[in-house]
């Protein structure tokens, strides 16, 4: 195994799928890894589109000084962290279909995304004039819902992936790779194309559309997997 990849070369090819028989008690896997990776890539693209747009929108309404930037970044972090725990907790529920949970998470993120800028604007207007603590609390609450579900997606997919692959490191590596590659792609297309050409609202809608696409694709794959089992 250690010598499977030629020295000095980076193995970029996706390893072949294991036989469609899973480890005992975990069901049968109809979703091929490239499909799973493609869906998680889309999720990563939309995540960075949101990060750039939401950060910009929130700093416009809460102020673009360093304190507000720290609040926004910390709110993202806290939400993702809680989401990660939430995803880990969900992944341990016996009998809960992980792909369906992932699909639902993407659906919720996408739906929030569609209305996100209007929500930010309306909420900001209602807390105008509040102190730093109130601003921080409101910012955290605004971002809690989407970041909770964003943070949950990695543990959900890793759990599913480990069941088919039987290797935590490889599962995390591949999933982290495709998701982060998607994030890098999202940053590039948002910065060099979408924001300049379409503006914030349309860019966020494109991000939401990618989430909803990921949700639908994963839902269809879940149905396929259920039929197969």
């Amino acid at each position: 195994m250690a010598n499977a990849v030629p020295s000095g070369a980076l193995s970029m090819e996706i390893p072949p799928d294991p036989p469609r028989t899973a480890i005992p008690g975990s069901g049968t896997f109809a979703v091929t890894r490239p499909v799973l990776y493609a869906i998680f890539f889309l999720s990563g693209v939309s995540a960075l589109i949101y990060q750039l747009c939401w950060q910009r929108a929130l700093l416009t309404v809460f102020g673009s000084n360093v304190e507000s930037a720290a609040i926004v970044v910390s709110s993202f972090m806290v939400g993702l962290g809680i989401g990660s725990l939430f995803g880990g907790w969900v992944s341990e529920r016996p009998g809960l279909p992980l792909l369906l949970a992932f699909s639902l998470a993407e659906f919720i993120i996408g739906t929030f995304g569609v209305f996100s800028l209007d929500i930010f604007k309306a909420t900001a207007a209602s807390v105008s004039g509040s102190n730093l603590a109130v601003t921080a609390a409101v910012c955290f609450l605004l971002l809690l819902l989407p970041t909770l579900f964003m943070g949950s997606t990695l543990p959900l997919l890793v759990t599913h992936h480990v069941k088919s692959m039987g290797n935590v490191g490889k599962s995390v590596s591949w999933l982290y790779f495709v998701n982060t590659l998607g994030a890098a792609t999202g940053a590039i297309i948002a910065a060099l194309l979408l924001l300049a050409v379409f503006g914030m609202k349309t860019t966020v809608i494109i991000g939401a559309a990618l989430n909803l696409l990921a949700a639908v694709l994963m839902f269809l794959n879940w149905l396929r997997e259920r039929r197969a089992s």
Binding site: G81, G88, W89, V158, Y176, L192
Partner: protein
């Protein structure tokens, strides 16, 4: 690997990764003079590096397939060390690469930072190998994989969040970026030594890395900010006279007194119209506003405009809003503006200008002045959009004037034309009146004649240089509706043309709404909104 140790390790590496990202963000913001897309593309390079590192970790995992826990820790330790060495080296390396702009072959218009992104990806690549690798060593593939992984992921995020707050908020306020980089190298090296079970070899290697890092920092960072800022003119003898690093950003001042915020020109420390005739934009307040008792200045910078305004005899109170608290330090260190800090007429508030106006809807002003930064900088759209202008103009008293720098953007002109009826252009400043436009030379003349700053007269009318600038200022009242060519016939008291150069005739004048409309139509300019962000992401 022990799960608790793994949690601590991913938290610490998360701290380092986010701290390095902050350091690199500051680096690229400064190098690009705070362009929004430069940050986003740097972030993309960083994420790409993390992604490739994550994939590379599979190779390391295979190599460690049958290794002992101690060997696994040693593998992680080596990666941590390399990640930190690369992260530390990147910042000065980019600044030295930026210096290549002074060589002819590299002066081809492509921003130099584009060539440095592979280095960001490379440095981030080492960081990217760590999380999957540690997960592989610490999480067995059983039914609890999801929750264990989520806890490690949480620890990583907690570490990253701590990095964002501690480095971005505390360290950057008190420690220059060069020593923050070194501190991160120190932390990474300490992790390496501990993970290597504090062996003699690891200790010696660690001491060597930290020692070489400390010794190399001063020479590597020599003229660091000068190299990053000066596009084609970096070289010996061009040291900045003042460099202030704080959590709000980096302010630099060159030998000519020009101020740069985040690497972009942000005004000059000067109140003399004889040295800097473009200060007419601050001196012209009395020509445009009959009774400017209460004035708001959004964006203090070096304090020149605020100082001129506060010394206007008609002005009773000046409220200054500045987002970067370090500008007070700049003002304090320059005697020509430092009295601003003790002037009882002046109140300085450190806040975001837009937010402050939104939070104070009842505050009304006779004049609002904004010597706005370049229209293409990140967040510039927040002070130039239709939404902001509408909100800000609601703070004007009847007859009040709202003046802001358009920095030669036709889109900024077009935005004003779409929002307001009474619009003119004074040199490069859009002027909006809450009432009919007025530029009263008769009212202005005695104010200029008697203008004093800190008790010293601004114009010595017996001095021909002063007299010429005085005449030029007052002649602005005759420029509306004149074409630039017509200005050639206007002379000073000695019979010499006041506008000798074509450039001055084009720029140094007062233009009417109709003239502005014509230029905007010709240029096909569209208005700036909160949604389209103006020029911020226009990289072409």
């Amino acid at each position: 690997m022990n799960f608790r140790a793994a949690s601590l390790l991913v938290a610490l590496t998360g701290f380092i990764a986010l701290s390095l990202e902050l350091v690199w963000t500051r680096l690229y913001y400064f190098l690009s003079a705070t362009r929004a897309y430069a940050f986003a593309t740097m972030l993309a390079a960083y994420l790409l590096g993390l992604a490739i590192g994550s994939l590379w970790s599979i190779r390391v995992q295979r190599r460690c397939e049958n290794s002992t826990p101690a060997e696994q820790s040693a593998s992680v330790a080596r990666l941590v060390l390399w990640a930190n060495i690369a992260g530390w080296a990147l910042t000065p390396l980019v600044s030295w690469m930026a210096a290549t702009r002074t060589w002819g072959p590299f002066q081809n218009g492509i921003p130099p930072y584009v060539f440095t992104y592979p280095l960001v990806a490379l440095a981030a690549g080492w960081l990217g190998t760590l999380l999957p690798l540690i997960c592989h060593f610490a999480v067995p593939p059983d039914a609890k994989v999801g929750s264990r992984l989520s806890k490690l992921y949480l620890a990583n995020i907690v570490g990253a969040g701590a990095g964002s707050l501690l480095t971005g908020f505390v360290l950057m306020e008190y420690i220059p970026i060069r020593w923050i980089s070194w501190l991160l190298l120190f932390l990474g090296t300490a992790i390496y030594v501990v993970l290597s079970s504090c062996t003699r070899k690891a200790l010696l290697r660690g001491v060597a890395v930290v020692g070489i890092g400390a010794a190399a920092t001063p020479p590597l960072y020599w003229q660091f900010w000068e190299r990053l800022q000066n596009e084609y003119t970096w070289g010996k003898g061009r040291d900045f006279t003042q460099i202030i690093e704080s959590r709000s950003g980096v302010i630099t001042i060159d030998q000519e007194g020009h101020i740069y915020g985040g690497g972009a020109y942000d005004g000059v420390v000067d109140v003399s119209p004889v040295n800097t005739p473009w200060l007419v934009r601050a001196y012209a307040l009395s020509a445009m506003c009959a009774n400017p008792e209460e004035v708001l200045v959004v964006g203090l910078s070096g304090g020149s405009w605020a100082q001129i305004t506060a010394n206007n005899p008609a002005v009773k109170k000046v409220t200054c809003i500045e987002i970067n608290h370090s500008y007070k330090e700049v003002i304090a260190s320059h005697p020509i503006v430092s009295s601003l800090l003790q002037n009882p007429k002046v109140e300085i508030i450190i806040d975001d200008g837009r937010r402050w106006l939104e939070r104070n809807p009842d505050r009304k002003f006779d004049a609002i002045l904004m010597n706005t930064t370049h229209h293409w900088r990140e967040f510039a759209g927040n002070l130039l959009s239709k939404e902001y202008l509408t909100m800000a103009a609601a703070h004007l008293n009847p007859g009040g004037v709202f003046q802001y720098n358009a920095t030669d953007s036709l889109r900024v002109h077009q935005t004003a034309l779409e929002v307001f009826d009474h619009v003119n252009l004074l040199v490069n400043n859009v002027v909006i009146w809450n009432g009919p436009p007025v530029f009263d030379e008769k009212r202005w003349r005695p104010v200029l004649e008697n203008y004093t700053i800190d008790g010293k007269k601004v114009f010595d009318l017996a001095n021909p240089r002063h007299r010429r600038v005085f005449d030029l200022f007052l002649a602005l009242a005759d420029t509306p509706s004149k074409e630039p060519g017509d200005l050639l016939s206007i002379n000073d008291s000695e019979g010499k043309p006041l506008w000798p150069s074509e450039k001055e005739r084009q720029q140094f004048r007062l233009q009417t709404r109709v003239q502005m409309q014509h230029a905007c139509r010709e240029g096909g300019a569209s208005a700036i909104t909160d949604d389209n962000l103006g020029h911020e992401y226009r990289w072409w």
